[in-house]
Symmetry: C2
Subunit: 414 residues, 2 copies
């Protein structure tokens, strides 16, 4: 068996990666219909005036404001109703002094009218409209372009197309937007013992957990994952699969197959695919020791540990920020919370450790309950709200101590 | 023109609704592959033991722990290496005292062995394995069922299938889950002046904004929206469209067409469709006055205001909680934040008012900047992070006052 991997800190790994890989955001033009949730790659301005015409802001009577000056309940203006304007129609009527037109909210103001009296402030008496309240010019009228003017800014580059923004873009007559391209990510699970989900397990076999979990996580970071399935520890097969992945994807994520076992041929195999090959082999933290980073054809290959809890933690720490950077998704808003530790934690001195915890909303505030730390513990995977990052220098965290819990995306307080 | 609608408070509207409508969650069995993001409708237990067999937790040598008792660097045990076990394979070898087997992480423990010595603590010298560190029985072995035992609980009813939970369910051999059904929601936009997105605008026309915005929002609350398009203010057409919606959907949402204009025929038309018909017509708040709630064939019809900002606010306040209840989605975690008001707000006394604000992360904390409150303001729609709920009794909020901002889903701090 060969020498074990040479570990580096996460920060050193990021620096090495930066020497070889310069992730660049790509953009794409998509129709607004398909743009929900995407991130804008450029500022968007309105194509139209909104409203595109002067329109009534209330139901009532369009008239000349000067006809109402000085009127009140006891001394109403009496105007002749010369027609009616519905929303969506072009008015063919002209309002002069002494006349008015019944108008619906949203309808185009008729020529000659400069204000609308609300329906509540008027009554029809024998075909004459009595106006009991004065209005000033422009009152109850939404002027052309008052909601958005043509060329006015609607949304900014980097903004997510939320339901609200989506609506505003629609309103502004925008039909296509330039958005950041979703990075294409190939996901490969490696290990002789892995079996595709749904098949019968033979002795010695377990289901592939990392494939679907990592695909979900890639999606949450704005990437477009393709699960290329399971490869056995066969150099030729691995080479074939990774080569295929490189041809069609921007980033390759493998899991398993990079610890120091006699069958761990992933690093050698990847090195045969091109320069510079493997640039990091081993992170100085727990979990994450058997992590590999390689660059082939200017594309990064992230080799995550095989244990699901470890794989997900290293994904969140190492890979997720690059995916979010590429897809334009901001770092999660609720990145971390303060919580009180329910149980003492003893960590290995001289090694950074990430301890999964479940957050509980107690009466005295938020509590962090440490979960099992053996790399395989699946219940930790399902129950963890996030993790505590215990630095190299720290060995003991006391019960009741206030700790910072970095949250998993989409995790909720119980 | 007929009398204006009779307004009630939101709470009264909810009470009236509760008299006539008893929303019940439906469940559905879906394959785990399609279950990402869904909400579990029942507790899930493991179908298998994980690991399904005793397995090596590290790369090293499987042996009898008793053979290592008392050994150290200077006095190693010397064992005969009788074979090698790879992950995924059924071992056909038996370990007796004085022998050991090279074993990979994740591989099945051979018969007779009860511990694994890490590869770092052993060396091969002329075909003999020298063990330099003692192990106790069970050391570096993951026992069958130690990660999950058969029938052990994996995830609970109400839990969201996050990437982590998805992985754990895969690991546990779960192939299908019972999840809450997504409520089917028909979305109809009403108004003569509305034009489908993408078409050329004629004078008097504007694009339909509410259709896509409400569909997005329904999706965010776990519902499955279908946009049934735009209807004009024609009684027959409205009746046809709503009847169609009732036949295939659980909830109908319309927008526009329910204020007091001469052409607002929605309430009458809906009343002709069945009993009890319209149960609420008008909310005592701003925005939201022209809101309608009806029940036909035990299904609710929510008639939202036509103005996009108003429609979205009333949707979030009135409709969203029911959709989340039905789909099992918890209320958004980051429901509200405290922020300092950048500008005085004068609200109408005697009416509840929802004021849209943009949140800004300032140096002295989070600031809330009030946005334009005229119902049509589209830029408010795109920029609002959330809103302040100003109660009936309150008239003035001072600059610098700390207010509670209820957040829109997916909104971010700028």
């Amino acid at each position: 068996m060969k020498d074990f991997l040479k570990v580096v800190t996460l920060e050193d790994a990021q620096t090495k990666l930066a020497d070889h890989w310069h992730p660049k955001r790509q953009t794409t033009i998509i129709s607004l219909e398909e743009a929900s949730g995407r991130i804008l790659a450029e500022d968007v301005t309105s194509k139209i005036n909104l409203p595109p015409f002067d329109r009534a802001a209330v139901d009532g009577y369009a008239l000349q404001a000067s006809d109402t000056f000085g009127v009140d309940e006891t001394n109403p203006a009496k105007l002749s109703r010369i027609g009616e304007i519905h929303a969506g129609k072009q008015p063919e009527i002209k309002v002069g002094s002494g006349t008015c037109v019944a108008i619906a909210t949203g309808a185009v103001m008729p020529e000659g009218a400069d204000a609308v009296v609300m329906v509540e402030d008027a009554s029809e008496v024998n075909g004459t409209i009595e106006i009991r309240r004065a209005v000033s010019p422009g009152e109850n009228v939404s002027e052309k372009g008052s909601e958005i003017a043509e060329e006015e800014s609607i949304a900014l580059a980097g903004q997510k197309i939320s339901p609200q923004v989506h609506g505003a873009l629609h309103a502004a007559g925008v039909q296509e937007v330039k958005a950041f391209e979703k990075p294409k990510v190939a996901v490969i699970s490696s290990g002789e013992e892995l079996v595709e989900f749904g098949k019968e397990l033979q002795l010695g076999q377990i289901y592939d957990i990392n494939g679907p979990t990592i695909c979900d996580s890639v999606r949450a970071c704005g990437g477009e994952p393709t699960h290329l399935g399971i490869v056995s520890d066969d150099a030729l097969e691995i080479k074939k699969r990774v080569r295929k992945a490189l041809s069609k994807h921007d980033i390759i994520i493998t899991s398993g197959g990079s610890s120091a076992g006699s069958k761990d041929i992933l690093p050698e195999t990847i090195n045969e695919l091109g320069e510079p090959g493997v640039i990091v082999h081993g992170l100085a933290q727990k979990p994450g020791k058997p992590t590999l980073i390689a660059i082939i054809k200017d594309k990064p290959i992230f080799g995550l540990p095989g244990y699901p809890v470890s794989a997900l933690m290293v994904f969140n720490q190492l890979v997720a920020p690059y995916l979010r950077e590429l897809s334009g998704i901001p770092e999660p808003e609720l990145g971390s919370v303060q919580a009180s530790l329910t149980k003492k934690i003893i960590s290995a001195r001289g090694r950074r450790e990430l301890v999964p915890v479940k957050l509980i909303q107690g009466e005295e505030g938020t509590l962090a309950r440490p979960l099992r730390r053996d790399s395989g513990a699946i219940t930790s995977l399902a129950n963890a709200s996030g993790y505590i990052d215990v630095p190299l220098s720290q060995e003991i965290l006391e019960e009741g101590e206030i700790v910072t819990v970095k949250l998993y995306e989409g995790s909720e307080l119980a």
